[in-house]
């Protein structure tokens, strides 16, 4: 009779040996990839382990091991805070407006650019439309503040010439969302169209030729060939958008908002920045951030699964 306990170590030994052999053979490749792995471990994974402080009363002097555990205190504090509803509403609304108004623009632009027959004209427009993408957020917000300034800003000067009353746009809560969305469209519509143009160029030209024979006009071609042809790309982009439904480009908001527009402009990310970094409430800030990442993670998985079932398009 064979003693089982003796077999397993041998198998294990062989497996380790085989593993060592591959490692030796691929030594050069592993050495190349090592700095990258280390970077991800330190700068992407270490902060994930740092999330434990969301459940602690963290103090930098006591460290991760010395700080006391407080369970879900910070989460409860956040859920019961007077700002909770406002933060969720602002974040969701900006994202929903983004999907409703900003998301379709690059698609429409790509569809229309794709139909332009003069390649020079098309190229010129493309080159110009990508330009705003390369302007920094600081400059974009700087343009907004200066164009809209009540003190000599071009927009208010024009309003004045037309006999209207000057509007102090940047401190009006009702103007924050439109300005955020419109400036976003200005900056990213052209650049965003590249991906759809790439998808459009992959559509079989025979489909268009056949449709002409069948008497389809341009509008019908758009609707029945071009749009279905790029639908997988649209869905992928939509999933990725839904994946950060609870976070929004806060670098721009931090530049744009001020105490008088918090009502519409303050989102979860900016709140985390103010409480977690500026006020140094590390544990509370981490807890709010974790709440946000967790919801986002659930959203991207759900969106991916729904899309996989309905349209057979998925991220993974």
């Amino acid at each position: 009779m064979i003693d089982r306990s003796q077999i397993i170590p041998v198998e294990k030994h062989q497996r380790t040996k085989k593993w060592m052999d591959t490692l030796k053979k691929e030594k050069a490749l592993w050495l190349l990839v090592l700095p990258g792995i280390l970077w991800y471990l330190i700068f992407a994974y270490a902060p994930m382990f740092g999330l434990v402080i969301a459940f602690q009363d963290f103090s930098p002097f006591k460290g991760f091991t010395g700080s006391s555990w407080v369970g879900l205190t910070w989460f409860q504090q956040f859920f019961h805070s007077q700002f909770f509803g406002r933060l969720i509403r602002n974040t969701l609304l900006l994202n929903i407006y983004n999907i409703l108004f900003s998301f379709p623009v690059p698609i429409i632009l790509a569809l229309l650019l794709n139909e332009i027959q003069h390649s020079r004209y098309k190229k010129t427009v493309q080159t110009i439309s990508y330009l705003p993408h390369f302007v920094s957020t600081v400059v974009v917000v700087g343009m907004l503040t200066n164009f809209l300034s009540p003190v000599g800003g071009i927009v208010n000067l024009m309003i004045g010439k037309l006999g209207g009353k000057s509007i102090n746009f940047m401190i009006k809560p009702e103007w924050f969302r439109p300005l955020y969305i419109i400036s976003g469209i200005w900056q990213e519509a052209g650049w965003g169209s590249i991906i759809y143009l790439a998808a459009l160029s992959g559509i079989d030209t025979q489909l268009y030729e056949a449709s002409i024979v069948d008497g389809a006009n341009k509008w019908k071609q758009l609707w029945h060939i071009s749009i279905p042809g790029i639908l997988p790309t649209i869905i992928i982009m939509l999933i990725m958008n839904l994946g950060h439904i609870l976070s929004i480009g806060y670098e721009k908001i931090i530049l744009m908002y001020n105490t008088s527009t918090y009502e519409t402009a303050d989102v979860i990310n900016t709140y985390v920045y103010r409480r977690g970094i500026l006020s140094g409430e590390y544990s509370f800030g981490t807890a709010v951030g974790l709440f946000q990442s967790a919801i986002n993670f659930v959203f991207v998985i759900a969106a991916n699964r729904i899309s996989k079932r309905v349209t057979e398009v998925s991220l993974w």
């Binding site: 990258g36 503040t145 102090n168």
Partner: protein, 298 residues
């Protein structure tokens, strides 16, 4: 579609004709809207400031002068922050390129056993992260706060760029690799002598993406730097373009006091943005390719 054009050209239906008219006009409008702010800012920066204050500038400059530029270029903070930004761009981009190519190359090798596992390990970070506060505490713990390294090291790799580069490497024929291995080339040699020279388009796109990101970044400086001597250009811009203005608006200052300030601000925008706008047209054909490579297999 291209094949069909000649066929249809002579007998465009009215519907199609309307389509093309709307299409060309719409596309032209897009170009105008994208370009107009730049034209206005340039014209405003070289115009007579009184004319600017009266709202007479809307397209072409009036009363041409370069006073605003003289004021901008005399300011020390502009030069020192410009210098800092150049440091961040050069050091940061170099580090990005080394890390990204070194990591992307093995991940593109079909015979690399760790390929899928390492890729999963990396891709996961696109969907979940520790967030702002833990990242800040890490940088603090590493003693990087108020050093230049806080700006470049945490921004070491962009996963998106890594995937673009890996996809490009994958498109290079495997047979080249096999032939080189038979000739006794080491992996490092194969990468630097065969793969990298064949990847020049995607490499230049990566350099552009990384360099522009460093040039435009302000947030890491806002969070990690207190020492103004280390501030990049964007932090300086934030001060003069946004903060001064917000203070004025909150105080609701009287009309007309800010006339000189406006043209100086516009001149500052031009000075800070021109380097990017200058290199941009030369690299444009490459980066479109770069985005497409990423799009095919994201």
């Amino acid at each position: 579609m291209v094949g069909g054009i000649e066929m249809v050209k002579n007998r465009l239906s009215i519907g199609d004709r309307i389509f093309y008219i709307i299409d060309y006009i719409f596309v032209a409008l897009v170009a105008i809207v994208a370009l107009y702010p730049f034209i206005f800012i340039f014209s405003a920066s070289v115009s007579n400031s009184a004319a600017l204050g009266r709202g007479e500038i809307w397209l072409f400059p009036k009363g041409f002068n370069t006073d605003a530029y003289e004021i901008v270029l005399e300011e020390k903070a502009v030069w020192s922050s410009y210098g800092n930004t150049i440091w961040y761009v050069v050091v940061g981009t170099t580090m990005n390129m080394v890390l990204t190519t070194f990591t992307a190359y093995p991940l593109s090798r079909k015979n690399f056993s760790g390929r899928n596992k390492v890729m999963m390990f990396i891709a996961f970070t696109m969907f979940f992260s520790g967030g702002l506060v833990p990242s800040y505490l890490l940088v603090k713990k590493l003693g990087l706060i108020d050093t230049r390294w806080a700006i470049v090291i945490p921004a070491g790799i962009s996963t998106w760029n890594l995937i673009i580069m890996r996809t490009f490497f994958e498109s290079i024929p495997q047979s080249l690799h096999e032939a080189a291995t038979i000739d006794g080339c080491s992996e490092l040699r194969i990468m630097t002598r065969i793969f990298l020279p064949l990847s020049l388009p995607v490499l230049s796109v990566m350099v552009l993406f990384y360099a522009v990101a460093h040039w435009n970044s302000y947030f890491s400086a806002l969070v990690y730097l207190n020492d103004q001597k280390l501030y990049p250009l964007q932090m300086h811009l934030r001060k003069i373009l946004i903060q001064y203005n917000q203070n004025e608006m909150l105080q609701e200052l009287t009309q007309g006091r800010d006339v000189v300030g406006q043209s100086v601000r516009y001149a500052t925008i031009i000075v800070s943005t021109v380097p990017i706008l200058l290199i941009y047209p030369f690299l444009q054909k490459y980066f479109v390719k770069g985005v497409m490579v990423g799009a095919i297999k994201g």
